[in-house]
């Protein structure tokens, strides 16, 4: 806990939660996106629809799932469909307003790599791969990305295009025939970024309390663009912090209580 009364991770999760609206239909990854979506549901967006790619539609878990297919998701869902139906009727069908993605590597145009570090055919590190991401990125109305900043993660050039953001910027996306908006928001532990209207390069529009421009640049592998007016992200409210911490405490208790281990890699997107 910093002297601010909240951690950068908490700020990231709460800032992401605030970006979600009550009528959003959100395709949720595990870890930070899952926490953010559920904080939104438990605060200002009680009717938000959360979809996990395992087929659970409209879930309202009391504790955070550890995988995208926990039983709790199904128990609290409006309905649970097969995986082919999920990808055909619900994602490809254009029903998802917000796709939430994490990234192992991200570039300034919102292109994401979770496939390999190094060459695809002889990788230095074989990562899990895309899972749902390639089509989440193209079929969701908009894409929100959350990740902790680091020079290893936010890079000048990604090693593999697991999912397409804005390509090399400009109209690259629409030139490929993609009609959805793509990445419209990047929320890190330090700042909120939005793509420039013309170039589509991610631009810092808000920094979290106590964060400096140097902090942002030092943890980013490309020269950071800042908006003309950079705002300060409002600090988490008591309600937001309490909701997030209660959720995490319930989650920890539930998982320990059932013989489950704590998920120490919670920010890893799960398929």
């Amino acid at each position: 806990m910093s002297e601010l009364g909240f951690t950068p991770n908490e700020m990231m999760t709460i800032a992401a939660a605030r970006a979600l609206k009550n009528d959003d239909v959100c395709f949720v990854g595990i870890g930070a996106p899952s926490a953010a979506c559920n904080v939104a549901r438990l605060t200002h967006a009680p009717d938000i629809t959360l979809i996990y790619e395992s087929g659970t539609i409209g879930t309202a878990p009391d504790v955070l799932p550890l995988s995208i297919g926990d039983g709790e998701l199904c128990d609290t869902a409006v309905t649970t469909v097969s995986v082919p139906e999920m990808f055909r009727y619900w994602l490809q069908g254009g029903r998802v307003t917000i796709g939430f993605l994490g990234a192992a590597q991200l570039d300034r145009f919102g292109n994401i790599n979770t496939t390999v570090i190094g060459d695809y055919d002889a990788p230095k590190t074989r990562l899990p791969g895309g899972g749902g991401a390639p089509e989440i990125a193209s079929s969701s109305g908009e894409v929100y990305i959350t990740m902790k900043q680091s020079k290893r993660g936010m890079v000048d050039k990604i090693d593999f295009f697991t999912s397409f953001g804005h390509g090399n910027g400009g109209s690259d996306r629409q030139d490929l025939g993609i009609t959805t908006k793509g990445p419209t928001l990047l929320i890190t532990d330090l700042a909120i970024w939005r793509p420039d209207q013309e170039t589509k390069e991610f631009t810092v529009v808000s920094m979290h309390p106590g964060v400096t421009r140097d902090d942002v640049q030092e943890t980013c592998g490309w020269p950071v663009k800042f908006a003309e007016m950079v705002e300060q992200t409002p600090a988490p409210s008591d309600e937001e912090l309490t909701t997030l911490r209660d959720l995490q405490a319930r989650t920890k208790a539930a998982h320990e209580g059932s013989g489950r281990g704590k998920n120490q890699f919670g920010s890893q997107r799960d398929g």
């Binding site: 097969s82 082919p84 990808f87 990562l127 791969g129 899972g131 799960d270």
Partner: protein
């Protein structure tokens, strides 16, 4: 027509060296007991199909059974990477399997096309994605009405699929409930299908009319193996053993640790051991 068999016999009769095989279950109902039996029987040169290879394929890959992998997400769910798969792909230990990598949307459509008897599936996918350049089984087809270039992938048609389900009735019909994943498609797309179940019940008279039921004539063999999904879970029976998934990260980190673990927990074990492994995870529901 479904035969009731013990798992050892069902695996011996239905899985052969060189087969294309799917062990399916999307996070839920992963057929670990069947995979362990395949490991004990020492099958080789398999083409392993699975959307999310996770721990079950990490074990088979580490044991050198995989000639080729077809998948869309090769991670340990909620934990991280698959260390045996990495060692195989990065270092060729114990061998270097061929990789055919897709997205979830592609795999789900490919299973659906297999179940539907089609040679391929078309969908709106892979736009701008790098896999199209490294996977020759991703092609484009023009919509004959709009001209839109859609993605096409070949259908998945395994020689044999293994799935785990909650229940069979005495006739051999199988019920899958909760997160049904890709189970129905995996069974219908395959030439042969082996199903392990938590229990066998008299009938499904009290089951919802539109529940996911696989008729007995779509199934080759049914094997009663309580706990057979462990460390995955069976909704209504027992919870996911997250500790085991975390533990696997350490086991798989080292080749010798892995081999010792496999000897103790797989090679020297039997299908009946699964019931004990889930005893502490059984839910009141």
């Amino acid at each position: 027509m479904a035969k009731f068999q013990d798992l050892k016999t069902a695996v011996a009769e239905n899985l052969h060296d060189g087969d294309t095989v799917a062990f399916e279950g999307f996070t839920h109902l992963i057929p670990h007991a069947a995979a362990h039996e395949a490991i004990r029987q020492g099958r080789r040169d398999l083409t392993l199909i699975r959307m999310t290879p996770d721990v079950v394929y990490d074990q088979m890959i580490g044991m050198g059974m995989a000639k080729k992998l077809v998948f869309s997400y090769a991670g340990n769910p909620g934990v991280g990477l698959l260390r045996r798969l990495r060692d195989a792909v990065e270092n060729g230990w114990p061998n270097r399997p061929e990789v055919e990598e897709h997205s979830h949307a592609a795999m789900a459509n490919a299973y659906g096309a297999g179940a539907a008897g089609l040679p391929c599936a078309i969908f709106r996918g892979y736009l701008g994605a790098g896999l199209e350049a490294v996977n020759a089984n991703i092609k484009r087809v023009a919509c004959p009405f709009t001209g839109e270039m859609l993605a096409a992938v070949p259908s998945v048609r395994p020689d044999v699929s293994f799935v785990h389900a909650q229940k069979a009735d005495r006739k051999g019909n199988v019920l899958v409930e909760g997160i049904i994943g890709i189970q129905k498609e995996a069974v219908l797309a395959a030439k042969r299908a082996v199903v392990t179940v938590e229990e066998i019940v008299d009938d499904f008279d009290d089951v919802h009319a539109n529940a996911c039921i696989l008729p007995r004539w779509t199934i080759t063999a049914v094997c009663e193996v309580p706990g057979g999904a462990h460390p995955s879970y069976a909704h209504g029976y027992y919870e996911r053993d997250n500790k085991s998934y975390l533990e696997w990260d350490k086991v798989a980190a080292d080749r010798e640790t892995f081999k010792a673990w496999m000897k103790e927990h797989v090679l020297d074990a039997k299908p009946e051991d699964f019931a004990d492994r889930v005893a502490h995870l059984r839910s009141v529901a």
